[in-house]
């Protein structure tokens, strides 16, 4: 079986006698076109992002007053766990997966993705799982839920979600490994495709670990003696500790890997330069992923208070701390070094263009760098940041960096999705607004974390954390600022969705290669035909289109 003999349905018309609406819905539901599957993943996760950003804004405003909550304490606890689970499994992973599924086969010069029906199965399984999770929360389920059957429903829904994501990731990874155009060796794949490969492998390797815990939890919670909830198991009175690994750093960093791939992709295009030290980009992503992947082997890699540890323990603490917390920064530095050099060469030759995708990418990488750098303090026990809002700030920085990168992906590749140009100035304003919202939403958490404000994504019940804590700064102001930041992020996403829908409906038709791109997706029409390419392109360098264009100043 090859991808080439797999028919796609993009050109299929509606059968005679069927209403256009039914035919359109049926064609989307049964599609095996990777571009449609990816767009569905990304669009649905974008909508969920909108809802969740609104939710965290409400929750942010709720804790402005530390003596009283306007939400019921149990509802508050549930909503916070929904936010954390939702951001990972309904937003971050599927959004990056969706863009990768849409774009990567085009970048590779493939006529389709490998196992498109498997990816479609992953999409619908994921969506079903998400629906079940939302229903379970509505019925007081979730990790700390009060209704037993709804908690079972939550476990089943999360299991389905994970299964769907792993299936789609397996198709994506296989595509990168097997469906590259002739001449495109693995070291010549575009940075975004490389990051998508590493990201997909990370999903394949890490998520089944959580699935194993979910299978046991379901059996134990629904039919068994609920040993998993007893003290002496993994502790605590809820399911949260069991899924904590997947929701914590450094594992969340690898779900954000495509952010770096996207930035490394757009900077050379808008600097009109080939990537300087390209190997640094590939190695940097690999190094960052290594630390994240091994993060599933242990949750706690803290530095204990030095007064309570002997020399051997201190050495062990420092080694594990450095591996899990400093290695990702080394990877980021290597990658950003290469990207910055490319940017500087563009600035030096004055060939750089400031366009919305570049702005979104810069915003995303600022937030991700911010998260990586601030995270290094969390495991130091003496600082007492574990369980504080500081941790929450790191998590939200990662989430918002993925969201900004997702918006950047749409602004960069929208031509390949719909063949229409998006308006430049409004998008640039949204990019700046998104970065500002992300900073405003997270920076107050870092200040409040140092002032002992407990986090709400923690293991314990919310009531022990929300009220009655001591704060040395101005908590009301900081919490209000953070709530405003979340609200602005929700507005940014909403504005972006409205803008793109309007442009997709009535925007100007775009040229096939308006950005002067370097990779193969710009060699085909906008939008691409059913099988992506008329002829399979030939590749002899990492920038095959640049090779073909007339030599510019010094490209």
């Amino acid at each position: 079986m090859t991808t080439i003999d797999t028919p796609t349905d993009a050109a299929a018309g509606s059968p005679a006698g069927t209403s256009p609406l039914v035919a359109a819905v049926a064609s989307w539901v049964t599609t095996s076109d990777h571009k449609r599957i990816g767009r569905l993943f990304a669009s649905l996760s974008m909508l969920m992002m909108l809802a969740l950003a609104g939710l965290v804004a409400v929750l942010g405003f709720d804790r402005i007053d530390r003596t009283e909550n306007f939400l019921d304490i149990d509802v508050l606890s549930q909503l916070f766990s929904l936010a954390r689970v939702g951001f990972i499994f309904m937003v971050m992973v599927p959004m990056m997966l969706g863009f990768a599924i849409s774009v990567v086969p085009l970048q590779l010069g493939a006529r389709s993705m490998t196992f498109p029906r498997s990816a479609a199965f992953g999409l619908w399984t994921w969506l079903t799982g998400c629906g079940i999770i939302i229903v379970s929360y509505a019925q007081n389920g979730g990790p700390g839920g009060g209704k037993s059957s709804a908690v079972d429903l939550f476990l089943a829904g999360l299991g389905l979600t994970v299964l769907g994501l792993v299936t789609a990731a397996a198709s994506l990874a296989t595509t990168v490994l097997t469906s590259r155009a002739p001449g495109m060796t693995l070291d010549r794949v575009p940075p975004f495709a490389w990051s998508a490969l590493v990201f997909a492998v990370a999903v394949i390797v890490t998520m089944p670990v959580m699935l194993a815990a979910l299978v046991y939890l379901y059996a134990d919670h629904r039919y068994g003696g609920r040993q998993s909830l007893e003290a002496g198991g993994f502790g605590g009175n809820a399911i949260y500790p069991w899924i904590r690994t997947a929701l914590s750093q450094p594992l969340t960093f690898i779900y954000a890997l495509p952010v770096l791939g996207f930035v490394a992709e757009v900077v050379p295009v808008f600097a009109r330069r080939r990537t300087v030290l390209r190997a640094g980009v590939l190695v940097g992503i690999g190094v960052l992923a290594t630390a994240g992947l091994t993060g599933i082997t242990q949750i706690d890699h803290n530095i204990r208070p030095w007064s309570q540890a002997d020399d051997g323990e201190r050495f062990r603490d420092i080694v594990t701390y450095a591996f899990f917390n400093l290695l990702p920064i080394l990877g980021l530095l290597v990658l950003m070094g290469a990207v910055t050099l490319t940017l500087l060469t563009g600035l030096k030759s004055r060939s750089i263009r400031l366009e919305p995708p570049l702005l979104f990418g810069i915003g995303a990488v600022i937030l991700l760098t911010h998260a990586l750098l601030t995270h290094v303090l969390v495991p130091i026990d003496d600082l007492q940041l574990v369980g504080s809002v500081y941790e929450e700030g790191v998590f939200m920085s990662v989430v918002y960096s993925v969201v900004l990168a997702g918006l950047g992906c749409v602004s960069y590749w929208s031509l390949k999705f719909r063949g229409r140009q998006l308006p430049r100035i409004p998008l640039m304003l949204l990019a700046l607004g998104g970065l500002g919202a992300g900073v405003l939403a997270t920076v107050p958490y870092f200040i409040s974390g140092f002032n002992n404000q407990p986090g709400l994504f923690g293991v314990k019940r919310a009531e022990s954390m929300v009220l009655g804590w001591d704060h040395n700064a101005a908590p009301e102001l900081l919490n209000a600022l953070s709530g405003i930041g979340h609200g602005l992020m929700a507005l940014t996403v909403l504005g972006f969705i409205l803008l793109t829908q309007r442009a997709f409906a009535s925007g100007k038709f775009a040229a096939d290669d308006p950005w002067d791109g370097q990779t193969l997706e710009w060699a085909t029409s906008s939008p691409p035909p059913a099988n992506n390419f008329v002829d399979l392109p030939s590749v002899s360098s990492p920038e095959p289109l640049t090779d073909l264009k007339p030599a510019g100043s010094d490209r």
Partner: protein, 189 residues
């Protein structure tokens, strides 16, 4: 649109094999995590296995042997298809399916025979069903894979060695995974 020079025909690609390897990686992590959970609980518990529980070891050993044989027979299918021997390939695929069904039958027999309720005083009961149930589901997937491969082969895709090779890889994984489960659940208990 830029006119790129047409490339030569794409080289044969090992999509089924690589795709199967991806799912095998996921399955390895799944079973690995479950085995780790089993040992974690066993190490923590003062009393682990229910006192009156007697596991029919003949059936569990038969399960292990069928898993080992199934991967050997799957390799036989690969060998036969490489030589263009249609009859032996079809026969080998049929035997893989039968061995898989025998494996499931033995597992069902064990479940029925031990009469262990899922609800127990320790985590043993739920963990037992979680790990053996997951292994059961993975074997079902292997049988479905073998049936699809057999239909494709018998249907005329005799040059499609990728599917048969991927199938063999999957059954190798099942043999290793079941060995881990067999050793932890039925041997060291």
């Amino acid at each position: 649109m830029l006119a790129l020079p047409p490339a030569p025909a794409p080289a044969p690609r090992r999509q089924m094999l690589v795709g199967t390897a991806m799912f095998v990686a996921a399955g390895t992590m799944l079973i690995g995590a479950m085995t780790a959970l089993w040992f974690h609980f066993r190490g923590e518990a003062e009393v682990w296995k229910p006192e009156k529980l007697v596991i029919p070891e003949v059936a569990t050993n038969v399960m292990w042997i069928t898993a080992l044989f199934a991967c050997l027979i799957a390799q036989w299918a690969v060998y036969s298809t490489t030589r263009g021997d249609r009859h032996h390939t079809a026969l080998a695929l049929g035997v893989v399916i039968i061995l898989g069904l025998a494996h499931l039958n033995s597992q069902a027999y064990v479940w029925r025979r031990i009469e262990l309720p899922v609800k127990g005083d320790t985590a043993y009961n739920a963990m037992f069903y979680a790990i053996t149930g997951t292994m059961f589901a993975l074997v079902v997937a292997g049988i479905v894979y073998a049936i699809v491969g057999a239909f494709r082969y018998i249907g005329g895709r005799t040059r499609d060695r990728e599917t048969i090779t991927g199938l063999a890889l999957y059954w190798y994984f099942l043999a290793v995974a079941h060995t881990a489960v067999w050793y932890s659940v039925y041997v060291t208990k």
